[in-house]
């Protein structure tokens, strides 16, 4: 069954066609990579899935339900979480508080009950802190919970964004260049992490320029160029696809 399917997504900015009739499926519990040269429209596709952009036409179907044009926060509560290409952490807040933001949509306390801290809300709050610490431990940052997010290394900031996204208890995780700015060792760790995320029954869709990571971690790859899908298939198929080699990977020596 496919967790997410995109059907003929179209998005134009002024006269520029950023995404032209993109359709592809993401199978449940798979790890799918979306690759393509800079400006191919990868992030625009992500933004349409997460409700940051509304497509001009086409549909986004998540678990057999059309979510096209829904506001972002509702999409998050349906179970799609994301990270950003240009890291968007709350830089002046602590690591823990950043992750608590992700817990927010799973908490129920209203304005007054959260203010006056009834026992039930205190429990909920304590539970949220535990949940946040669990996600921090998962990405290996629990010992840094009280540091400012802005003081973390670049690679750790990327991991923190993943923890924050996981805290919203998603069934589907979208990672926009998770290895951007990471060194080789960190990228190696990230691959293990992505597999472990899938191990928690979360489907993963990622954009990445690090071909080593994409080829080793993804089960399916979709290649975008000039806003259109030019190829999709297993890493082995993509590696040998002449269209992809021409458009993106270049000819190997």
């Amino acid at each position: 069954m496919s967790a997410l399917s995109l059907r003929n997504l179209l998005k134009t900015f002024g006269g520029l066609v950023a995404v032209a009739n993109v359709s592809f499926e993401v199978e449940d519990l798979s790890i799918v990579g979306l690759i393509g040269p800079n400006g191919a429209g990868k992030t625009t596709v992500f933004n349409m899935i997460t409700g940051n952009y509304r497509p001009d036409s086409g549909d986004v179907i998540f678990n057999r339900r059309a979510i096209t044009g829904m506001p972002t926060h509702e999409i998050v509560s349906l179970g799609i979480a994301r990270t950003f290409q240009n890291i968007r952490l709350f830089q002046n807040m602590t690591v823990l508080e950043n992750v608590l933001a992700g817990c927010h949509c799973r908490m129920k306390a209203g304005l007054f009950s959260s203010m006056f801290r009834f026992p039930r809300q205190r429990r909920e709050e304590r539970h949220a802190v535990e949940q946040a610490m669990r996600e921090l431990a998962f990405v290996g940052l629990d010992r840094q919970y009280n540091n400012l997010a802005g003081n973390l290394s670049y690679g750790n900031q990327r991991l923190l964004e993943i923890a924050r996204a996981l805290a919203s208890q998603p069934r589907f995780l979208i990672l926009d260049e998770p290895a951007g700015g990471m060194n080789d060792q960190e990228t190696e760790d990230l691959m293990g992490l992505i597999r472990n995320i899938r191990g928690r029954d979360i489907t993963v869709l990622l954009i990445e320029h690090d071909m080593n990571l994409v080829m080793r971690v993804c089960e399916k790859i979709v290649v975008l160029e000039y806003g259109a899908v030019i190829a999709e298939g297993t890493p082995a198929q993509i590696k040998t696809n002449p269209l992809v080699i021409e458009a993106y990977l270049g000819v190997e020596d």
């Binding site: 927010h104 959260s114 472990n196």
Partner: protein, 362 residues
């Protein structure tokens, strides 16, 4: 003990979670003694002038704290807060003079009407960002002032305003003297601090801070940005309306000029200068901006010059304000190292649902 050690101990103390609450309790206990202290030191005129000034500061502090929710916590550039204050004051004045409502009954009505107007004006503009919102809110305060000036609905008394507003009374006790007014106003201010302190440390306050920091990221975390912004705006307007009631009952004669744009700017400055989002900062800002304005009254226009220069210096050397908000603290030390890790290298083989099967995909 050396100076360094003392400094270190002070820092430790400040980092305690109870430090802020304890500081507020001490502050309000001290304020409770203020009238007696004025008596004790035999301030000329029985300290009435000083009490009047403190009353003014107390009302401004409550009002600025209500703006702090909107501007300081949620980061909405709102420079029209006096409009809601005016709505509250005029509602109280009309209910008191035309319908003989007791002040305390008028108070919630004043708050609710201000909140309703706040919600109505915020709905179409809440999605505006930064400077755009600022310009629109400036418009709001002008519209309200001009409406009052033109005797809207024939009940605001035009440029003359409304006079003869009753004193607040409860169970036959009338808050008549400056001293009783002082206790009434500062009780309200203390209540304001209490309520907004709880708000700051709730899930709601946290959500506002996320929105202030980055509303796209906040939405991406599942926070309903528009709804929270509206809630902050409406709550701030509600509280400003209630502060308006106290103002009307304190001053007893209100006129449109008391609610002009300049007053809005001062409120804005109190929040920014004191420390955007910090309750203690806003209290300090109220004392400095309202109190010092009064102290330097004799210098007239020169005082505004000094004022402006001081503000410029502040924004250059201490843009976060005099007392910026403290970091929230969470009790999570015990939870460190307790949960499983998903990164093999850092945490060993604690978490490993999938065998590391390198190359299976390639």
């Amino acid at each position: 003990m050396s100076a360094g050690a003392i400094k270190e101990r002070c820092r430790e103390l400040q980092n305690k979670r109870w430090f802020a609450s304890a500081a507020f309790v001490c502050f309000f206990l001290f304020m409770a003694l203020a009238p007696s202290l004025l008596d004790l030191f035999g301030v000329s005129g029985g300290g009435i002038a000083q009490l009047d000034m403190l009353n003014k500061i107390g009302i401004s502090a409550a009002l600025a704290l209500s703006l702090n929710v909107i501007l300081g916590q949620a980061g909405l550039f709102h420079m029209g807060h006096t409009a809601f204050f005016a709505v509250g004051a005029y509602t109280t004045a009309v209910l008191s003079t035309m319908y003989q409502w007791p002040i305390f009954s008028a108070m919630p009505v004043a708050g609710l009407l201000a909140a309703a107007i706040g919600l109505a004006v915020a709905l179409p503009i809440i999605h505006l960002r930064g400077d755009y919102l600022l310009v629109v809110t400036i418009g709001i305060v002008e519209i309200v002032r001009i409406a009052l000036m033109n005797n809207i609905f024939g009940i605001t008394g035009g440029a003359n305003g409304i006079y003869g507003i009753a004193r607040p009374a409860i169970f036959g006790f009338v808050f008549n003297s400056p001293k009783s007014q002082f206790y009434l106003i500062w009780s309200f201010t203390a209540l304001t601090v209490f309520i907004f302190y709880l708000l700051e440390h709730s899930r709601f306050g946290r959500a506002l801070n996320y929105i202030k920091a980055d509303d796209t990221a906040a939405a991406g975390c599942g926070i309903n940005v528009a709804r929270y912004k509206l809630a902050a705006f409406t709550l701030g307007a509600f509280w400003a309306g209630m502060a308006g009631t106290l103002y009307a009952a304190n001053i007893r004669t209100i006129e449109p000029t008391s609610f002009n744009f300049f007053e809005s700017v001062i409120l804005f400055a109190i929040v920014i200068l004191g420390g955007s989002g910090s309750i203690a900062g806003v209290l300090l800002g109220s004392f400095l901006l309202i109190g010092l304005q009064d102290v330097f009254r004799d210098f007239d226009s020169a005082r505004m010059l000094v004022f402006g220069l001081a503000m410029m210096a502040m924004m250059i050397f201490r843009p976060q304000g005099l007392l910026p908000p403290r970091r929230r603290r969470y009790d999570a030390r015990k939870l460190m190292g307790k949960y499983a890790c998903g990164i093999s290298r850092q945490c060993g083989a604690k978490y490993n649902p999938y065998d590391e099967d390198e190359g299976s995909a390639s």
